[in-house]
Symmetry: C2
Subunit: 274 residues, 2 copies
């Protein structure tokens, strides 16, 4: 049985590298689809076209996407034995929304291994903070679909008590507990509130220019431990690095995005995820 | 007067978004052009087409490029007031070598600022290590063009004394002291030996699948302080994160790449840069 996320990101093959999908209400922030959600739709079409899961994909965001039908045109750039590279454009009503390029394939089952780093230390999920939805201006309808649980304190920005540190960590799962595959990891990379909200800077929203995800493993069942950090806020731009770790303690994805930091139009008008 | 690097990466406008260039001998590793050097050629064509410097570019590497002529076909994806997004393919003899996508524009002159991090601590350049060329199997002809100076010890892999830590730091300048612009930063991101060489893992070479560079500032005159680290070597893949800092202590570029880690075919056949 397909999960809610799989259904929402499903694509229909129209032939000749074209796919149809629907940007579904319920995965949006203020009416516009979450960027990682769009990446997942586009990535699913690309993965279908080349018959392999994503290893490294980059999206450039061109326009916001309200709910409604969309098409994805996939161009196969290189189709090798182990790896394939593809480019794709997601469009709505003839308007380019998203341009992606990616290389697809599987991780090796062995090979040299050296890991410097560890999952973020988190209290059990039931001691973490639920990002509320509907009843709260600061939380989007998106979180109804997700069992995201923030590390206590990391939700401080929502109540005027930012930690002062551009970091947000927490647990990720889908509300319906559907398994998290490589395409879903593209979404997870963008599913938390921007860490810059936990600084005291006058940053109101952070429209993403570019988001790259490296899929580093196949997640084992269970929630992911995730952490997102911004280290360089300067020149009207902010980076955001994400790490997603599975229940075995294996890093399953790394992400990095570059976003604009326009000044908040009026104090307090933060939005909960970029 | 143009510097050697500017001349080597110059592009000629053929009209209709097509550009011609030459992959020059002298910027190669064992006969194939350095990946960052190819990104600079392609990035220069894209920047010329959209009339703005790169802010964030991603390259997927499709085939090695020997010296010789090449063409770059640039497609403008979005041409906005402040930002432009473009895609490009670099080809040699009809073969795709490199696919890039990028967003182009300038950093803001002000905006919220919060930097967590600092340039690597390095001894003065004349106390650092020159990566030798020509006379040394482990150093490519590339380093004749560069005033790269490695942190003492970080060249240990060359003499069978790896530090055991997947990190390499050092100074970067061009031998002819030409200024480092946004396009040159794409090259700097790939101009040092891979940090994985300083581990004791059986990794012989690390062909890059994907390399993303965020240009975070306009370098002030003088050499750059650079550091490159690999934190996650697993599943036949390795990441590499780079930071490039200018003489004022400003981060001017961040890079991340994902490379394959095939086993060394025979012991000791390391190549000095990926």
């Amino acid at each position: 049985m397909d999960g809610e996320f799989d259904l929402a990101t499903a694509v229909r093959d129209l032939g000749d590298g074209s796919y149809a999908a629907t940007v579904t209400h319920g995965w949006d922030i203020g009416g516009n689809a979450n960027g990682g959600f769009l990446m997942a739709i586009c990535g699913r079409a690309m993965a279908a076209r080349v018959g392999r899961p994503p290893l490294t994909v980059t999206a450039h965001f061109l326009a916001p996407a309200p709910s409604g039908p969309c098409t994805i045109d996939v161009e196969v750039v290189r189709d090798g034995r182990r790896l394939a590279t593809a480019s794709a454009t997601l469009r709505q009503d003839g308007r380019d929304v998203l341009r992606m390029v990616g290389t697809f394939g599987h991780q090796a089952e062995d090979g040299p291994t050296l890991v410097t780093g560890a999952p973020p230390e988190l209290p059990p999920a039931d001691e973490c903070v639920v990002p509320r939805a509907h009843t709260d201006d600061f939380a989007p309808v998106l979180f109804d679909r997700l069992a995201v649980r923030l590390r206590p304190g990391d939700d401080g920005f929502r109540v005027g008590e930012p930690t002062g540190r551009a970091e947000i960590a927490g647990w990720f799962a889908f509300s319906d507990s559907q398994p998290i595959d490589a395409v879903a990891l593209l979404f997870v990379a963008d599913a938390f509130p921007p860490p810059v909200f936990n600084t005291t800077l006058p940053v109101g929203w952070v429209p993403t220019l570019e988001l790259t995800v490296h899929v580093r493993g196949v997640p084992s069942p269970g929630p992911l431990r995730c952490v997102y950090r911004s280290r360089f806020i300067q020149g009207g731009l902010v980076d955001e690095d994400g790490e997603m770790w599975d229940s075995r303690g294996v890093l399953v994805a790394q992400s990095r995005q570059l976003s604009l930091t326009p000044r908040a139009p009026t104090p307090g008008t933060v939005s909960p995820t970029g």
